[in-house]
């Protein structure tokens, strides 16, 4: 049950479960059905505060120093009771300013100072590494205890090669897990809903595991709490160890520990992450402010009983840090120790996950990217690579942070107890508190004060806690601990300025915070804030009353020329001229300071093109005169390229729209024209139909009413009726032809035919009629054969129509018509000319219009000869037919007879091997 393989597979199974929960949480977040939208989950996620240090170390500390360990939990309880005021304010600021970490928060408060952000990130990295080391140690130790019990765990780390060392592999596995966990995608808000869900789950696991051990110890190893306390009371030694007097440093130790825990709860990067960055709803704070202290109470309930029991019973392992594990093991249990191991694992992994993600965010955003962005050689401004770079940097940072933790663990971890390591980190995190908390309430705190305070406090911390730690591990000669460096006894790390009798943490905290706060306040009083710092200070301190500060924005320190250059770059000259309408001659060299209203106007103009956030950042960068920070660059690049793309698309769309509406207008025009033509056509058709109908009706009525008409008149009138009826039918036939031609429904049956034969045939058909009218018809065909593709009936109709027309318009006295057929390039040309008056140049196209009648003045003679009137449809129909057959029909000057000449041109049929089709 406790073999290595089982323990390891259970541990991996647990990690896999965590991963599933996280993936589920992320999925739900993407679907908009957040898994963490509950104050209980929020409170549980804050319980990431309880690490392996709590799980194993509380009992250890209680066993050594009595109830003093409780102070570590009273501090956060105090902080949470104040949460509705303080943490709510931080949450609100973080949401408005899109804060991603505590380094970002402090940097933002002091005018988005990149230097300050980098400083915080660096201190966090140095200060928190031991804490991560502590978790690795806890996992390794608990695993060793579990597997080797009842033998003592083999933990001589430094003597082994690192690849045999289990903590190294723990660190690597965790690194991979966190990379999968926390850097799956890049989210601008740096929220990780899946991670929060998993952390909340871990908080429940560790609580259940710890309560299980407590209940087992009190009610199974002993007969309830009464029995336990009776047995403790019997041992005066134990009573002394567990009394309040055992707290190191006495009263100062109490206060020091309380302050330490209070501040660290707010400033530890992982706490800031879950408390502020991952908060999804401000209202959750209210319930968390009592639910989280309740959680702390529950997880501490059995600490003293377990410590007492561990001291009373001769457990196999004398290390009090392992009592939680060794007590159930000593009772011969298998399942409970495994549960405890998982509980400890959850406490450790929870901390490592959140802490590493928070640290890697800081490292990438505050340390690495600003450097990369400044390096012009890398050309990071090209947008595509940035997100990839960012994720890559985070992943590398995660691995490095965990390896750093492992290194610290391997080199130093042995010489410190869990609690000691934890408190060193606490003290480091506390250095952020002055800059953060004072900056939250005092508008006058300056970036320079904050930076110097932070540096001084951290140096004091390093001198009084970190370096002595190295010394005690044997890496340094520890003589200076005893006598001070260079024999300066007032510089002794544990008794700075001769302050003795304090515990080392309270001692360190006192001096470091004194230096930190002293410099922050002192320097702030004597230094000036830049305009942006002033703005940010106002935004932070008045976060709960945002209305008060809007008016104080943009007390700019930029020149009109610079502002103009910026606006021109994004908006172009035209829009810029409008923004600067009342500053007529502002060139790029204009050194006048830009007035606030001009800056605001420029911001609004830019916001129209780039969106308000990017616009503000741009103006911000100009007014501040600094390089932009990473996120701003990202968001500007994003919005700018989006805007450009959108502009480009809009332009294209409006071009297309203009084109479409032009087409629509033209189509509409065409339709209207067609409609007008149709009306005209209908009117003309009705006119043309009425004319023969009039004669028919008139004579029909005359015949009806005049029964006594002479026979010859009756016959004459009846002839007229018949003729007009024929004319009517012909007209209707032509109108139908025309309609078919125009709608494309005219059915032609093209075939190969000989135009020569067809022409002769047509001449024969009209010959008699022409002769009757005295028309002399000449035929001049220059070829033997003229093969074309055409519909013989229709083509004959065309040729007859041309001959008819020519006859009608030929000279009245000596009418002559000539048909001429000749090859012309790849075509055959058939022309029909007459010796009439001809057709004026401007009339030549109009003769092909429907119902166009060529007016002939003094045409009385023609009528006398009985020439039928045309309908005005013959030529349009002929042209339609010829066009259908791929030819042309037009009017030109008659070459021989000097009258009108109509020319029909048809393409020659391709040479054919088979016999040509016979003409009709």
């Amino acid at each position: 049950m406790r073999t290595d393989a089982i323990v390891i597979s259970v541990a991996f199974g647990y990690l896999a479960l965590l991963f599933v929960i996280a993936a589920w949480g992320d999925r739900r977040a993407e679907q908009g059905r957040s898994l963490i939208g509950s104050p209980t989950v929020y409170a549980l996620s804050i319980a990431v505060y309880c690490t392996a240090w709590t799980f194993y170390g509380s009992v250890g500390r209680a066993a050594q120093y009595g109830p003093g360990f409780l102070l570590i939990y009273l501090g956060p309880t105090l902080a949470m009771l104040m949460a509705p005021f303080m943490i709510r304010k931080m949450v609100r600021i973080a949401q408005v300013q899109r804060i991603t970490s505590i380094a970002d928060f402090i940097s933002a408060r002091y005018g988005k100072s990149q230097g300050l952000g980098a400083l915080v990130a660096l201190i966090a990295l140095i200060g928190i590494t031991p804490y991560i080391a502590l978790q690795l140690k806890a996992i390794t130790v608990s695993h060793a205890v579990l597997v080797n019990y009842p033998l003592a765990p083999e933990l001589s780390l430094a003597e082994e090669a690192f690849w045999v060392d289990k903590s190294f592999w723990v660190a690597l596995v965790l690194a991979v897990f966190i990379i999968l966990f926390g850097t799956r995608h890049l989210d601008a808000s740096e929220r990780h809903e899946g991670m929060v869900a998993a952390i909340a789950f871990e908080s429940m696991v560790k609580l259940v595991a710890f309560l299980a051990v407590g209940v087992f110890v009190v009610f199974s190893l002993f007969h309830g709490p009464g029995d336990l306390f009776t047995q403790v009371a019997a041992s005066p030694e134990l009573v002394g160890a567990l009394s309040l007097e055992a707290v190191p440093g006495g009263a100062s130790g109490w206060v020091g520990m309380l302050v330490l825990a209070f501040l660290a709860f707010l400033t530890l990067p992982r706490q800031f992450q879950v408390l502020v960055v991952e908060n999804v709803d401000e209202r959750h704070i209210t319930r968390a402010s009592w639910l989280f202290p309740l959680y702390l109470l529950a997880i501490n309930l059995f600490v003293i009983p377990i410590a007492m029991a561990g001291l009373l019973l001769p457990a196999g392992n004398p290390d009090p840090d392992s009592f939680v594990l060794t007590l159930p093991l000593s009772a011969g249990l298998d399942g409970l120790p495994l549960l405890v191991f998982i509980g400890g694992l959850s406490a450790a992994t929870g901390m490592v996950i959140v802490e590493t993600i928070a640290l890697s965010t800081m490292v990438s955003n505050q340390l690495v990217m600003p450097l990369l962005l400044r390096s012009k050689r890398l050309h990071l401004s090209s947008q595509g690579g940035l997100a990839g770079w960012l994720l890559g940097i985070r992943r590398v940072a995660i691995v490095l942070i965990l390896l750093l933790g492992y290194l610290y663990h391997a080199l130093i971890g042995d010489s410190y107890s869990l609690v000691t390591i934890g408190l060193v980190s606490f003290a480091a995190a506390c250095q952020f508190a002055p800059a953060m908390l004072i900056g939250l309430y005092w508008r006058g705190a300056t970036g320079r004060g904050a930076a110097l305070g932070l540096i001084a406090g951290t140096l004091v911390w390093a001198w009084t806690l970190l370096i002595p730690g190295f010394a005690q591990s044997g890496w340094l000669n520890d003589a200076f601990l005893e006598y001070g460096p260079w024999g300066l006894s007032w510089l002794r790390p544990y008794a700075l300025f001769g302050l003795e009798g304090w515990d080392i943490y309270s001692h360190s905290l006192l001096w470091s915070l004194m230096a930190n706060v002293g410099l922050l306040v002192g320097i702030s009083l004597f230094s000036r804030q830049s305009p942006v710092e002033k703005t940010q200070a106002a935004l932070f301190t008045e976060a709960m009353h945002p209305g008060l500060i809007e008016s104080s924005l943009w007390h700019g320190q930029t020149t009109r020329g610079e502002l103009r250059t910026l606006v021109t770059r994004y908006l172009g000259a035209g829009a810029t001229a409008r923004v600067f309408a009342d500053v007529p001659n502002a060139g790029p060299d204009d050194d006048w300071p830009a007035p606030p209203d001009l800056i605001t106007r420029a911001e609004q103009a830019l916001a129209g093109a780039l969106g308000s956030a990017s616009s503000r950042v741009l103006i911000n960068s100009l007014v501040r005169g600094e390089a932009l920070d990473l996120e701003s660059v990202l968001s500007i690049l994003d919005t700018t390229s989006e805007t450009l793309e959108m502009n480009r698309r809009l332009e294209q769309q409006s071009r297309e729209l203009a084109q479409a509406s032009e087409e629509l207008r033209a189509a509409n025009e065409r339709l209207r024209e067609l409609d007008r033509l149709k009306d005209e056509f209908v009117a003309m058709v009705s006119h043309e139909l009425r004319t023969p109908l009039t004669s028919i009706r008139a004579f029909a009525e005359i015949l009806r009413d005049g029964r006594d008409l002479p026979e010859e008149k009756r016959i004459h009138f009846l002839d007229v009726v018949v003729l007009e009826s024929q004319r009517l039918s012909r007209l209707i036939e032509e109108i139908l032809d025309l309609a078919r031609l125009e709608s494309g429904r005219l059915t032609l049956t093209p075939q190969r035919l000989d135009l020569v034969a067809l022409a002769r045939h047509s001449v024969d058909a009209v010959h008699r009629l022409q002769e009757d009218r005295g028309v002399s018809l000449e035929v001049d065909i220059e070829v033997d054969e003229a093969p074309v593709i055409g519909d013989p009936d229709r083509l004959e109709q065309v040729i007859i129509n041309l001959l008819d027309n020519a006859g009608k318009f030929a000279d009245d006295d000596a009418p002559r018509v000539r048909l001429h057929l000749t090859p012309h390039k790849q075509h055959y040309r058939l022309s029909v000319e007459d010796n009439g008056p001809g057709i004026a140049e401007e009339e030549r196209e109009r003769v092909f219009e429907k119902f166009h009648q060529i007016k002939r003045h003094g045409a009385g003679a023609g009528k006398a000869k009985g020439r039928p009137r045309g309908s005005g449809l013959g030529l349009p129909i002929s042209r339609g037919i010829v066009a259908h057959l791929g030819g042309r029909l037009w009017v030109e000057e008659a070459p021989k007879l000097k009258g009108a000449c109509l020319v029909m041109e048809l393409p020659a049929a391709p040479a054919e091997t088979a016999a040509s089709a016979s003409p009709p």
């Binding site: 009117a683 004319t691 009039t694 009706r697 008139a698 007229v720 003045h857 009137r869």
Partner: protein, 123 residues
């Protein structure tokens, strides 16, 4: 005996109108375009004109307008004949001073009665 001038470019229509008017007891003069119609009026003014609108050369409207502008013929009864059934043309004809307006094809009886009525009125 009253004299009627028939103006139309369609020979068969002229033929029918000529016959109808003669049958009704009038003298008939014919013209097949606007210019010759005006010439006939000048030669010997008729008592009534049956005037087609669509004529080669100047149109029936032009003829009507010229006659109405001539004080000698301002009151000469004129019946317009047209194959255009459109209301606007009817209005135009009446506005120009035509006494009546007959759409082709027409009822022979009705036309003869209109002519008679106008001539009696005039007399």
């Amino acid at each position: 005996m009253a004299k009627v001038l028939v103006v139309d470019d369609e020979p068969n229509i002229v033929l029918s109108l000529e016959f109808l008017m003669q049958q009704a007891g009038f003298d008939v003069v014919t013209a097949d375009d606007g210019e010759s119609a005006l010439a006939r009026v000048e030669e010997s003014p008729p008592d009534l004109i049956l005037l087609d609108i669509s004529l080669p050369g100047i149109s029936g409207f032009d003829v009507l307008e010229q006659l109405r502008n001539d004080p000698n013929h301002a009151r000469l009864p004129i019946i317009m004949l047209t194959a255009h059934g459109r209301e606007v043309e009817r209005e135009k004809g009446l506005a120009l001073g035509a006494d009546d307006y007959v759409t082709k094809p027409f009822s022979t009886q009705a036309l003869v009665e209109k002519v008679k009525a106008l001539l009696v009125e005039d007399a």
